[in-house]
């Protein structure tokens, strides 16, 4: 499992998560189009693909192959463990 904090440290990767939040299950093509037109992010397709790899290693994104296509899905579970670590009251911890 990669580092969630390192994955979240990059602004482009945070925008990728924002866009998956808006519509889950996107191809690389759709994400590149969104980043280019909404944020004027001129990153190459290869660069976005590498950002997806980092997010996937941190468990924040899951890729799913359906037939010949590949879709990316948001997984917020790693963020919940962050919330549990610092946002829960002390007495709730055993």
């Amino acid at each position: 499992m990669g580092d969630v904090f390192k994955a979240l440290a990059d602004p482009t990767r945070r925008k990728i998560l924002d866009e998956l939040k808006e519509r889950d299950g996107q191809t690389l093509f759709e994400m590149c189009g969104r980043l280019a037109s909404k944020y004027q992010l001129g990153s190459s397709r290869q660069a976005i693909s590498q950002h997806f790899d980092v997010l996937e290693a941190a468990g924040l994104v899951e890729s799913r192959r359906q037939g010949r296509y590949k879709f990316h899905h948001l997984n917020t579970a790693p963020l919940e463990s962050i919330a549990r670590r610092w946002l829960t009251e002390p007495e709730q911890h055993p």
């Binding site: 519509r23 191809t27 093509f29 759709e30 189009g33 590949k70």
Partner: protein, 127 residues
């Protein structure tokens, strides 16, 4: 100089003709036997003298890996203009067409991406 023809690489010309005419709504323009394959083009019924689309067989060894790599990343091979992407998305979905990108509006342009059943993804766009 002008663009009078564009092509898509299809895995089966008969199947492609059925999809591009029966489902998408283009009409056959030319069909000329050429050995194993045919010179097979379709045009838009809205513009029968306009740009022809050649349904080109994907027999060359380089085309299959090329097509598979594009499809895996969701990249359309080409784009067609429609009046209303939302409407066309609904119409095609009812006909069983699979979309890899539902309608998406960005900067005044709406696009969607579907599978042409012949090994390609095709984008439709309205402005």
């Amino acid at each position: 100089m002008r663009i009078n023809l564009s092509s898509v690489y299809v895995d089966d010309q008969d199947k492609a003709l059925r999809f591009y005419t029966g489902v998408l709504g283009f009409v056959k323009k030319t069909e000329i036997p050429l050995g194993e394959a045919r010179w097979l083009t379709v045009v838009s019924p809205e513009d029968p003298e306009g740009t022809e689309l050649l349904l080109e067989p994907d027999g060359h060894p380089a085309t299959k890996p090329f097509k598979e790599a594009l499809v895996a990343d969701g990249v359309p091979l080409t784009s067609f203009a429609v009046d209303d992407v939302e409407k066309e998305h609904e119409r095609l979905r009812e006909l069983g067409v699979i979309f890899t990108q539902a309608p998406l509006t960005m900067g005044g342009v709406t696009t969607a991406v579907f599978d042409d059943t012949c090994g390609n993804l095709i984008q439709i766009a309205s402005q």
